[in-house]
Amino acid sequence: MLHLRNLTKTFFPATPNEVRALQGVTLDIDEGSFVIVIGTNGSGKSTLLNAAAGTFPLDHGTITLSGRDVTKWPEHRRAAMIGRVFQNPFSGTAPNMTVAENLALAARRGQPRGLGALLPAKLHAELRDRVATLNMQLETRMNNPIGTLSGGQRQALTLLMATWRRPDLLLLDEHTAALDPKSADQIVRLTQRIVSEHHLTTLMVTHSMQQAATLGTRIVMMNQGRVSADIAGADRRRIRAEDLVRRFEEIRRDEQLDVSAAEMLREMYV
């Protein structure tokens, strides 16, 4: 389904700001699996998602999606197969356009856009009905600029937009991180519902160990641009949020050990 082969990306190479964001990541994701990506800040998890989306050209590696090599495809071309929800609720919607217009734009994701009307009455009615299923009373605000809505409402709509046309791959980049707990909870439940309803192949980055332990069918842990753990099957079903927190602790201790060992060696020999 989605095959990431040996992805490598270094930002600002050969400068003091050099960041080796991906150092040979290989992942195979099956059709219909819901993969949660976790990791510390700077571990490369968001970079991994952006690599799949095509936000930047890779240094090395190949990406195959639904049997097609999309490595060289620009972002907007891959969008025909990929639905995305961003961390910032403002990123996924055009604030000065109406709710209906935003949804209608998404209804043609990856399709050619010609001189047909954006919002024929039939589509408008269909959009309103689907928005009503969110139970957020947004169906009465279809003609308001989407920028007048709250972050949670916008994120719910973005989720609806990303999945309006069934994507081959759904990318969720910490899409609840910027929301208050109540909205975050609402979005998580909506995510769960939409993903299972449409059997979407999903890659979701999160900071929340709670979400990681309760959602999805597989957990991928990233550290320093590499996959440090890949938990699926029976292991995945057994795992609890505390276990994930402990793993993070271990990584942190290892890193501290590295630093203190280096310090010790320096004191002894330099």
Binding site: F86, F90, G92, L105, G147, A162
Partner: protein
């Protein structure tokens, strides 16, 4: 003011009709600036060159006896080409927005001289749209002069006003409809949130190129109409035109006080006409024509900084995009 003689009144009426006509012609320029500046937030200076380009292309064709409609259409296409060049410089070669426009505008100066063959091309003997306008005016009035609100106006002036009003109406309706199509909406979204529309499968780069092409096409079309109305094309006629367009867009925004598509387009047209009327009155009251550009620039400056100084000129914008300084 009420002591004016009949003759002076007649003069003022002619002045006002002319101000309306030029205001409407330049509203096409303002619509072009609206597309680049408000839809894409792209400060496109190409306008200064493309309005002259349109005038030059139309004038060169008209002096060779070509059909005025064909000449005006060719001017539109010429402007599209200029705008597309700016768009390509910016999106494909990653040149700064202003610099892309400056490069194309500068290049156009030489091109315009070549197209015209001289720095000023008179159209007095050529058959132009004004010839048709005069015919319309005569049909409406049944003679050389028509009565407009009780004051006599030349058939040519009246015909020009009617013709340009019809053209502007058509263009405004076409623009309104276009921006509600799939393509036009993708264009608006590209200016509103590039990240979002890219994730929905639209090449923002292509949208910018196409948008600037349409914008400069309209501006060149305005140049073609202006040349035909005033009876000549001049290589200097474009100087400061983008600022004029900005002023119109800003006044229009203040007039309608709304960002919705229909009101924005209407406001832009109204802004252009109103600004021209203000200028006409100011000139009549003794404003030195040499100070015109200075006054326009100061006006736009004021409109840009007053909101930043806390003087509210508009309602707060929806969140998610930094408010533009208009």
């Amino acid at each position: 003011m009420l002591d004016l003689s009949d003759r002076e009144w007649r003069c003022i009426v002619t002045l006002l009709v002319s101000a309306w006509t030029i205001g409407l012609i330049l509203s096409l320029l303002a619509l072009g600036v609206y597309i680049s500046y408000r839809v894409f937030a792209f400060p496109d200076i190409t306008a200064d060159g493309s309005i002259t380009f349109g005038a030059a292309v139309a004038a060169a064709m008209l002096t060779r006896g070509m059909n005025p409609f064909a000449a005006s259409g060719a001017a539109f296409l010429a402007g599209c080409l200029a705008g597309a060049c700016t768009g390509v410089l910016h999106t494909r070669f990653r040149i700064n927005q202003l610099l892309s426009g400056i490069l194309v505008m500068t290049a156009l100066y030489s091109i315009n001289l070549h197209v015209m063959g001289q720095s000023n091309l008179p159209l007095l003997s050529a058959r132009t749209l004004t010839t048709y306008a005069e015919r319309i005016g005569r049909q409406v009035s049944g003679g050389d002069t028509a009565m407009l609100l009780g004051w006599p106006v030349g058939a040519r002036e009246l015909g020009s006003l009617l013709l340009i009003a019809a053209v502007v109406l058509l263009v405004a309706i076409a623009a309104y409809l276009f921006f509600r199509t799939n393509l036009g909406s993708a264009m608006r979204a590209s200016g509103d949130n590039a990240q979002m529309i890219r994730a929905l499968g639209v090449s923002v780069e292509n949208m910018i190129i196409l948008g600037l092409a349409i914008s400069n096409g309209l501006i060149a079309f305005a140049g073609a109409l202006l040349a035909q109305y005033q009876g000549f094309a001049d290589v200097q006629m474009g100087i400061g035109m983008v600022v004029w367009g900005l002023a119109s867009v800003i006044i229009g925004r203040a007039l309608v006080g709304s960002d919705s598509l229909g009101s924005a387009l209407t406001g832009t047209i109204m802004g252009s006409v109103l600004f021209r009327l203000i200028i006409a009155v100011a000139l009549r009251w003794g404003l030195n024509p040499n100070d015109l550009k200075l006054v326009t620039a100061i006006f736009v400056f004021g409109a840009l900084v007053l909101p930043a100084l806390g003087v509210r000129t508009s309602r707060p914008r929806p969140s998610g995009r930094p408010a533009r300084m208009v």
